[in-house]
Symmetry: C2
Amino acid sequence: MTCIVNHVSSATARNSARTSASACGLRERKKRRTRDSLVTAALELFRAKGYEHTTVREITDAVEVSERTFFRYFANKEDLVMSFVVAAAEAFTVELRRRPASERPVDALRNAMRAAALTLAPEDIEREQMAYALAMHLIEATPALLAAQLMVGQNLTEQLIAIMAEREGVDPVTDPRPTIIATVFCGLMGAAGQVWRGDGDLAARTTLADRYLAELVPTFTEPWQ
Amino acid sequence: MTCIVNHVSSATARNSARTSASACGLRERKKRRTRDSLVTAALELFRAKGYEHTTVREITDAVEVSERTFFRYFANKEDLVMSFVVAAAEAFTVELRRRPASERPVDALRNAMRAAALTLAPEDIEREQMAYALAMHLIEATPALLAAQLMVGQNLTEQLIAIMAEREGVDPVTDPRPTIIATVFCGLMGAAGQVWRGDGDLAARTTLADRYLAELVPTFTEPWQ
DNA sequence: GAGATTCTGTCACCCAATGACAGATGACCA
DNA sequence: TGGTCATCTGTCATTGGGTGACAGAATCTC
């Protein structure tokens, strides 16, 4: 029986080392182990020396694998840090698809955001949460990582357009509303994330994003006095 | 008397070869000439072979300068294409600062967008416009360029936050409205640009962005039926 | 035309990333 | 248990983007 878990390429499953279905063969376990080692070693080096001043070689030396192996696990250096962002984005889309059709579009998005924030938190409390916060700080300090994160946001926006269009039964090509709501929501989430940047608790970010959403309409309709 | 024009590093002035103030010294004229040659040769090669399949070496060979010189004119390969996007962004902020204080925030942004679109068009009709359209197509087809463009958008957003905050006399740190309006506006402009992507006339893009802005509030307040 | 600036080419070098190939290591079945 | 197949890994060679340092050429200023 072949292990399927990794074939679906879920960043969520890949990043959290302890998934019940993870131990289904020596080969798969080894792969996960070296991947985790690479991530751990890389984050530690990035934290100590900075992202740009850390070479792939240094990371692979710390784990005792070849450079070539690194690029078999990660498309490029940025991809390692991005895996955390991608995992968060995936958690979000998963939650969004679960929202009942009765909810208004905005509420579905807001509630999915809240639910996803809780998904990331459970039990991994120490290790995973610290890693995520570090990733955010690295992104903040590194232009190349910021650009990569914006690309993830771009992909997420396109997914949201599709999901919202299907959810509400409209054509995303002729109807501008899926594009509008996806773009605005991703943009505001990004803005909230930029202000937040890993400091304090995860809830603070969603709270800020909520505030942005609440003040969105007045900002455009009311005079600013 | 020293030429100042290029020291302010205005991408708008840099990109359009024919500015009245441009001819103020042999050295400056030569620099502009090689820069223009590099852009022209690069765009032609990109068009023919694609961005990623064109090496910097090929560009510099076509202009008969050294590779090193290329990187003295452009921070990196992407920067050459981005100069067009940056020029457009600068034209936009210039127009925005010119808008009267009496206009509502949204209207100032919308009118600045319209004005900037006209700024880009005049007289250069053939050469400059074709180049801009080509740059857009390259961005669309090349992930690395898309990422770079998103970074430009990010910078623009931050400028807009500052400009709008100053304009309306609010504190951008405590008041979320500058952040909201800048983020949403840039996001929707980007979305419009993505649908448009250099095909047809420039006006079509601003028209689409206008439509997004018009439907923004209803999208969030009204049910989608 | 002398001297200070600035631009350019050359050279050496670092690092990220990829293709190709061979050997090691699990997976699976008889 | 052993053999076969699939997959993972290391090694090697190579490409291409990007940078620092230095010397020489061109331009500017007086």
